[in-house]
């Protein structure tokens, strides 16, 4: 993974962060950067404060009809991942913590419980 170090490289947020996959500290995929929260006002420099993950963050980026459908089908949940949680930026964005404490991957764990009683659900078959 190519690392970006503050002060040495320029970070293109649109190309290098937005729509990139998030992985937690154990390399488990836990979402995609759907939007970003930025702080600042006119005359000041802007600062990214958090990554936004979840269907609720798609709305402003989609045409009105798609946004409506996405809201109806997928809901409006947004998980806010503070910028300080970002450990590395490369092809994937690695976080410092595990997914669960950040509120990411909850649906996976819920659906996983449905499968728990089926034989073979705990066994990986590479």
């Amino acid at each position: 993974m190519r690392r970006v170090r503050a002060g040495r490289d320029t970070l293109d947020l649109y190309r290098q962060v937005l729509d990139h996959e998030l992985i937690d500290c154990e390399d488990l995929p836990c979402g995609t950067v759907d939007d970003m929260e930025v702080e600042g006002s006119v005359g000041e420099s802007l600062r990214v404060t958090a990554l936004l993950v979840g269907p609720g963050a798609w709305g402003p980026r989609l045409p009105a009809l798609f946004a409506y459908l996405a809201r109806r089908i997928c809901g409006t949940q947004i998980v806010r991942v503070p910028w300080r949680e970002v450990a590395e930026i490369g092809e994937k964005i690695k976080l410092c913590s595990r997914a669960a404490p950040l509120g990411l991957g909850i649906k996976d764990r819920q659906v996983g419980l449905w499968f728990a009683k089926i034989p073979g659900s705990e066994k990986s078959v590479p």
């Binding site: 836990c30 979402g31 659906v111 089926i118 990986s124 590479p126």
Partner: protein, 411 residues
Amino acid sequence: MNKILELCLGILTAMGGFVEIGELTFVLNAGSKFDYRLLWVVLLGVIGIMVYGEIAGRIAAVRAQPVFNVIRERAGIRLGLLTLAAATLVCLLTCAAEIGAIALLWQLLSGWAYRPLLLIALVFFLLVIWFLPFKAIERIFGLLGLLMIVFVCAAWSTNPNWHEVATGLLPSLPPGHSDQQLLYAYFAVALMSSVMLPYETYFYASGTIEDKWTPNDLQFNRLIVIVGFGLGGLLAAALLVVGKQILGPGQIEAGLPGTAALIAATQFGRAGLWVSMAGMFFAFAGAAIETALSCAYNTAQFFGWPWGKFRAPRQASRFVLCWIVVLVLATLVVLTGVDPIKVVEYSIIFSVVILPLTYFPLMVISRDSDVMGVYVNGPITNTLGWIYFVLISIAAASAIPLLVLTHGGQG
């Protein structure tokens, strides 16, 4: 030694998994209706799938990034979501057609009713994907799909005029009025789409990550796509030859998988019938599994969910739920009684529309030296990639008008 064995198995698997019900039907009918005049499209399509398959495999091996991860990253959520929705619909329809075709094959063998056989096929696929490892699925269905080679033998045994066959490698319009030429154009677009079906690229790239390929495996990647897909193309060409030689004189339309089985039976008797039925079963079953898994791979990769057969189902639960839902929906589609061959014809025509949306992000990322480093496209891949991008864009723009003008390929 192990590496050579792996390579041979990879090549044979790529060849065995090349043909599915849509390609079988279109290629046989193309031979029956237009003699060898569409052979050049098969060649064109095979080179196209080699180019994009190699690119997708290389990106996956170098960056561990599958196709829909790249699409999301480069095309953004708007265009990406549109591509995902279209790809899912096309894969779902293709999966439905494969399940329907398998039930039709079983019906020929057993004489049982069609609908209960669809449900048995659904249970079969659920059990196979749940319990079998990725490698086993890939190998069993890919290698046993090689029984389709019986059609290469059948083509050879019909003693075709090889000069005429070679002439078919150059584009030429059929004689007759404009309706016939429109139908020729429709078949050319459909044939190209059936050879370059996008799910092949999705599945191949995801499989590269399932098999944990690294940049050290890039030579493998190149050899497998060139030799494996090349041999698959030979199989498709053989089907076109038998379509011309056996179906052409009687103007027979290959509307059912049984027609293809009869071709083998006319050449090799009962043994040919059994081998072709078994080959078709494994080829169609492989395609059904690949399309169902491709839907799940695409969705999980787009939204950043854990995915892959290398993870326990409980750890990649939404990925598993996706392929289960796709298999159930695909079975419901064919349970309505719709003709699976009609379903696959539409899915192939709609597939061509999403080809440019799928391949443009791949081209952009694979030629970007910032992200690919020394593994960036060479001049040949770049040139071929963009030429094919123009060709598939033209095919995409003309697919729906041709579908309407030819009344769904009826002329």
